[in-house]
Amino acid sequence: MNALVTVRNLTRRFDVSKPWLNRVLERLPKRKLTAVSDVSFEIASGTTYALVGESGSGKSTIGKMLVGLLEPSGGAVEIGGVNLATERDAERIERVRGDIQMIFQDPYASLNPRWKVRDIIVEPLAARGARTRGVAERLLEQVGLSVDDAGKFPHEFSGGQRQRICIARALASEPRLIVCDEPTSALDVSVQAQVLNLMSDLKDEYGLTYLFISHDLTVVTHMADLVGVLYLGRLVEEAAPETLNARPAHPYTQMLLDAAPKLDGFGREVDPPQGEIPDPINPPEGCVFHPRCPLAVERCRTERPELRAVGPARVACHRAEEAIAQFERRT
């Protein structure tokens, strides 16, 4: 399998300092928030790679850097062998840009209310001066809406239908990669099922590659071929969903799995997770998870764990073997 997307040592820092005058008067230093820290992964062509994590884990920031909405502070993103941040060849940039599309979480905020659906859908083509005749109608049918909907405005549609319009728009430029940032989080379960099924069908039909960003582990296990778990901007574990469910190797992944409500977990009593996500401006030394980790030892407090292969997974934990053993004893 060849990689369509290669992400290497990706880092993004945001400047969250107070305004200059306040800094001078109150003698405050500059403050930097590291939203993404040294993340590396590859997405094979035609597969779905999922990034899962809680708020503040940096999953959306990675998605934005992939499509070029944000510039990395360090590291590189290569899509089809082209690094959009450094590439100077206009023709190659143009080609790769057309290969990437994005679907956002809120279908109410991502459609222009003054535009007709037809114009919304063909905009990715119109922006490049391509032919747009009949494209919107064909795509609307493809995503399960009717041809007549092309002349309507977004407010005439429900949330699920709007998300279908967003998907149709994403398909218009015939992309190879679609970055989906929480595409179903704003939808009801029955509508979510429709949209997820549609996304799977389209993937098979067009050979699409997805980067699927979500906070919902169950949705992610359903959709993904490979799952990357993020915690405080770091990739802590990467594994196939089956492996992740059966043998989670990172204590944080185990905690997430335990905390997720189970449909058959009637009256389940679990020890709720301890503590909260630390302040990302002053993250803990060493492994960022150590203050909440039941297995933390001295080494975890001082040395940041590198991502390493543990069985079929890649895990950033000094004590992954012990964590797996403990998990298997428990279940």
């Binding site: 809680e54 379960v189 335990d258």
Partner: protein, 330 residues
Amino acid sequence: MSDTPVLSVRDLTVEIPTRGAVLRPVDAMSYDIAAGEILGVVGESGAGKSMTGNAVIGLLDPPAHIAGGEVLLNGRRIDDLSLRQIRRVRGAEIGMVFQDPLTSLNPLIPIGEQLVETMITHLDISQAEARKRAVAALDEVGIPGASERIDSYPHEFSGGMRQRVVIALALCAEPSLVIADEPTTALDVSVQAQIIALLRRLCRERGTAVMLITHDMGVIAETADRVAVMYAGRLAELGPVREVLSRPRHPYTEGLMGSTPAASAGRPRLHQIPGAMPRLGHLPPGCPFHPRCPRAQADCTRDPGPTLAACDGRAACWHPVNVTDAEVSR
């Protein structure tokens, strides 16, 4: 535990008069919640879950109003109380936890003061006693260093900690019923697990009845004792959580369960319920679910539609699923 349920709702109907027609976001709902019991109310957006909760505590925004039925709290009718009387019930006898903790706390007042104010209003205690109890309440909901943080403002807390404060606030006057409307929807999973565990522990210890309104089937499964499934303003199914979720009788419940992705999946496709929930102004005749139902037959389109009472008491459906022959003959 006495025989009178803490909350008893009988044929509760909420109406919203509009220019064209009268909408019924809640249509003839009946259910009870016993002391120490958690009733989960589940449904998709627009099913009327929040409207039921708001009707019980008299928080309907006009022109929505209770058009029929009654609400009994510990055997006393509360749906016909005046605004002043219902304000005494709210907070004292019914505690509320809403989705967004920021909007349920006053951002300009320290949390301790908000707790003290609530307790002094509803309980006959002194300022000093109330403050002592406020520290204890914050301690109980798991806020570290409660005595130092009691004078902090809401914005100084994280989302999960804020929701703990709201729970402390809802429980501080020792109400017999707590209505929790999507209490964890705005929170991360790990925080959600903490909040759910907290709510469950406190209610079990105090014997508080809880109405837990959520769209999350997983939360319902782990938390509720009984579950009420709502569809288009009506009760579709009501029963013990284990039975309703593992052997649903209403085709809608079955469809909902099928469309929820499970962690132990491997299933390539999710079950799809065709179509979407009808708008309130355009309800089909008979059973509101029949246009989307795989088991719909001719009698499903006839009025009056199925109700719990007219059917087996569990699912409002003429042709329920997962019913054994023995149950049919009964």
